[in-house]
Symmetry: C2
């Protein structure tokens, strides 16, 4: 079901400062920047590797507003790992399978993620406290 660790999403206060840090310190390269109004974030994807069905990335997330999920996370916990995303061949099918096994779904249907992907989130309380994202990369 899981083909790769697609990305680790890190909440931060200052996207540009953190991009510069990750590029300088770990020699990573930004391959995409986006504003996602639906999720209330501006974000950057730093490429680590290519894998089965898609790549692996560090995703940096800055909230557009304090009153967003990532803004509230930062206020409560400070900077750190916000979620972890796993690549799957088909998000809709994975949601059906995983939901059928008793995990609560934060998204009943796939929605738009970074770089043209389809994504959905699982309830962290059902996955060992880890906010878990499923990612289906776009057809190339």
């Amino acid at each position: 079901m899981f083909m790769r660790i697609d990305h680790v999403g890190i909440a931060c206060h200052d996207l540009e400062e953190k991009i510069a840090f990750f590029e300088r310190t770990f020699e990573l390269t930004v391959v995409a920047r986006e504003v996602n109004q639906e999720q209330g974030v501006k974000e950057a994807m730093l490429h680590i590797a290519d894998g089965q069905g898609g790549g692996s990335y560090i995703q940096l997330l800055e909230p557009l507003d304090p009153d967003t999920p990532v803004g509230k996370f930062l206020a409560k916990r400070g900077e750190g790992v916000h979620h972890v995303a796993f690549g799957v061949p088909d998000v809709a099918q994975a949601l059906e399978t995983i939901g059928g096994r008793g995990v609560r779904l934060l998204d009943e249907k796939p929605r738009h993620g970074s770089m043209g992907s389809s994504i959905a989130f699982l309830h962290p309380k059902d996955v060992a406290g880890m906010l878990t994202e499923l990612v289906q990369a776009p057809e190339r």
Copy 2:
């Protein structure tokens, strides 16, 4: 420098229960179980994919005692992502490079990690709040 996301380490209260959950829900397979006295944990590695220089895994961590780093993490934050590990070709060289760029090192020299690997940790306050591990897989 980073060749892959090697693993996401998740702190949990009951290792066997969480192994059963991850196997049943996400169809993952445990490929190694270890007790690491130095780090005060018993742990399991669930295989996700093979990548450059090593594999990608979910690592489940149960503290051997409340008075260990993972035990204290659980008491403070509850279950969830404890650290993220990235594969590098040479941990000693990566430590020298990263330390030279101003990141505080929790380990000045590589030590023993899961499945025969060499590992070292970086200070989370210097890496966007993320406890960051460097992993060099053993020679095959």
